[in-house]
Symmetry: C3
Subunit: 363 residues, 3 copies
């Protein structure tokens, strides 16, 4: 903890148009979680190719005296970075995850073919990361079935390591649970494996599928997706105009919503008066308290199970492995910031990044 | 993970009256979060002026044989540090945050003038930190209005960077939401900006105001405060003898409650039989599971919204951006420890620090 | 964040049958805590070929060409480590914590003698760690009393530092609260101290006892245990076939359940159709969202207090200091993985470790 530190050098650095590593690290020290620091480290380094020499120059020379003009220039420089990020939202990147998958029907069975492979994934504009993906998507394709459906999942492993799929939250017969050496052998590179089961009646809601082998790595790199079981008889509160999935992750790809970091995240949209359902799913290793501006959220389900009574909030803490479903009555028009409230997962002095998106309510 | 480590050298170091950095770092490695380690490091260094030379001496020389007397001396040395901290509670420091602000009334509008500036803040006795503050306070002045009140907030920016105020949890028209480049331009150094709105009816409860620009830094440094909307018709359960706000933070200032670390934290007081309301607000980047000794808490509100039914606990997990309101029926007399149960946020081998206070129930 | 990194060298390392420290550290970088950030920063640097001379030297050796055979060998090498861990479960280690303690009865008082001392504890096979323990157990012996019982706890301190016991969650007279310098003097090395109180009627449920002196260290090292107050009149939902305690910790001993890391953790067992109660207690410094495969959990109590209505989930987030009681209706036969869903607390590329166990439902 600092004693008698000064905030001055940050602004001077900014005035000179240089992001000094020292200033940066000070900011980074605010972040609660290691990966936050990481995300920012990578970001910083890649954002300032001229970093090394310029920073040296800054520390080597005497600091200029601050004037109103230099302070304003410093503020303008910082603001320009913030503005640039926001104005580019939603930024185009290659690849879209969480796309709804249409199954083949074979003798009444809904068949989903999933191929796991290593890919390069554009997590935010220009930032390519090594990923593991189902069908080339991070998150993998969104699977939706109905209670009582017969479901078959053909997994093809094109990774360089073994894998397996666990249907997280779905109460299956033990031999379909997807845990190598407990319920099945690992699926070796080049091999295939088939899961087949009936989506359990009474177990509808927001679930997930993901690797359960070397999973800290494989899920961190992208082997995950939404597995949604629709109820035969939806409750009145479930009748919505839009049904959105927000999968949170915080591994090697930084802080992401549906596989992308701001400004490449997808905005969520609705018309004034519409009802939106949001299905939060945390596939990361940290909590993410998601905060929606402008309107509250009504929590209806936890892990696919109805809460005894709906309850309201504006910030909902999603822990790893959890799913929470909420309803938003879109009664307040405008573009509303919507982000993780661990601020180090959402903003640095370079502007917003990571777990930031918007809910746009059109008049 | 260690194999076959020994606890011995800690006690020997303590016996010699020296806190070795090595022993200390081992302890620090328990802490879950990086900042905890940091906070403790700083504390440690400043607490032991004799640290440098003595530590060198310790590692240079052969360790003395332990005897019952040396062990006792070691324990006494540690205990003396613990006792000193507790006996100094509540310790005087310059500056008090979260002071209730009386608005000016202009033609029926409640007007609050907030000036953001850079200050030095005494977070615990003798520990001055660089801060950003509203009206020279960390947290900023407590704002209380009533449902339906017309409210004006005049923000004057005397910082060296741009800023803006977001009313977290208050459902305002979009242009009052306080997010630069989305709902308004940033407020530049030296400039002013006015927010004006009606406190929404039906949206009463515990909310917050804070910077939403470079916020990981600005909120971490102190640009935050309580924004409480009182209901027109309070519920029976809300009729209390004391209404306390506990704002938690964990940025550059270490682990704080209402801007201060133990022993400079404010004790909360009540008489036997009285009812106390506690409004927890987390403005930090980590969870803080707050634990009250001696009496349970009855949770009534989440983010200002009534829970469907009150429920009881003694440890309440507050995530960043969340507010939780609880009632304590003070039926057990005494001075009760009241602290974050992430123990690394509350105690080191030097004694209690950070997120520790007391609820004092007087007979 | 890496740009254009390759996943190849992991498999090459594994193909050579060697567990490289570098590969391991890379995995470790997924973990949520601060040290992870450091490790990962290093990783990023080493991944960029132009980085420095040392890195150049490393990459100067030519990588062997990957072939289907080399990839398979690599996968087999990794899988063998995973299989070995699982096949050894439950692995034998010296020492069992959380053993139910039978009190002596003295004139109607239930008397528990607890001796705190420093021991070596086998946390997983072959891994000895320095610990502080009550009666040589980590966690300490399980204490169970009934509402209204008169209870005496004789603490003998054989540690090299002072200590004290706090009954976490039990609403006692202030002088029995166990906080040195607030409610009692510290208990010095070699000394003894006696607590005596009536288990409060109306305060039944899952509580804990632990050190409240230098507690970040002492609790991290093992001075903790379950303190359960049985109700005079159990609710129908509490009538179960098995009543299991799961104490979570994450200090110097790594990630543990009841003092052991996988594969030395205890499996929990039931017969098909039986009802199991699980009492989660978090004595660590991090959250642990516990995920049960195959069956959901019905949450009944928080910190010993009944929730207004039971509610269902499959992943339950346990924060430090919290206790949560759940019921599992064992209607799905098989061996079910049961683990913390912060995957870095449960699995590395070397296999499962830490906070992993199983619920075995026998036909």
């Amino acid at each position: 903890m600092p004693t008698e530190t000064s905030l001055t050098d940050t602004s001077v650095d900014l005035a000179s148009g240089v992001t000094s590593r020292r200033a940066f690290l000070r900011t980074a020290s605010f972040t609660a979680a290691g990966a936050a620091a990481l995300a920012a480290c990578g970001k910083n380094a890649s954002a300032s190719p001229e970093h090394g020499t310029a920073a040296t120059a800054t520390t080597a020379t005497v600091k200029p005296v601050e004037t109103p003009a230099s302070i304003r220039a410093s503020a303008d420089a910082m603001d320009a970075m913030h503005e640039k990020g926001i104005k580019s939202f939603p930024a185009k990147t290659a690849g879209v995850g969480n796309q709804l998958m249409t199954p083949r029907i074979e003798k009444g069975v809904k068949v989903f073919d999933l191929t796991a492979s290593e890919i390069q994934w554009e997590v935010s504009p220009g930032q390519m990361v090594a990923a593991m993906a189902y069908n080339g998507q991070v998150p993998g394709p969104q699977i939706r079935v109905r209670e009582g459906d017969r479901v078959r999942i053909n997994l093809k492993n094109e990774l360089k390591q073994s894998t397996a799929i666990h249907m997280h939250g779905v109460e299956l017969p033990n031999d379909q649970d997807g845990v190598p050496f407990i319920t099945q052998p690992p699926v070796k590179p080049g091999e295939s494996y088939t899961y087949e089961f009936t989506a359990p009646v009474g177990n509808s809601g927001s679930h997930m599928y993901h690797s359960h082998h070397n999973a800290a790595t494989q899920v961190g790199l992208g082997l995950l997706g939404a597995f949604i079981i629709e109820p035969k008889e939806p409750r009145a509160i479930e009748k919505v105009d839009h049904d959105y999935v927000l999968i949170l992750n915080d591994g090697m790809h930084g802080f992401t919503i549906n596989g992308k970091g701001f400004p490449a995240t997808q905005p969520f949209t609705a018309k004034l008066g519409e009802k939106v359902r949001i299905r939060y799913m945390n596939e990361g290793m940290m909590i993410h308290p998601m905060h929606l501006h402008g309107m509250h959220m009504t929590v209806i389900d936890k892990d696919g199970w109805a809460q005894p009574q709906p309850w309201k909030c504006d910030t909902l803490n999603i822990a790893p492995g959890e799913r929470w479903d909420v309803i938003v009555n879109c009664n307040n028009p405008g573009t509303w910031a919507f982000h993780c409230h661990i601020l180090g997962h959402a903003e640095s002095d370079h502007g917003m990044f990571g777990m930031v998106t918007a809910l746009v309510v059109a008049k």
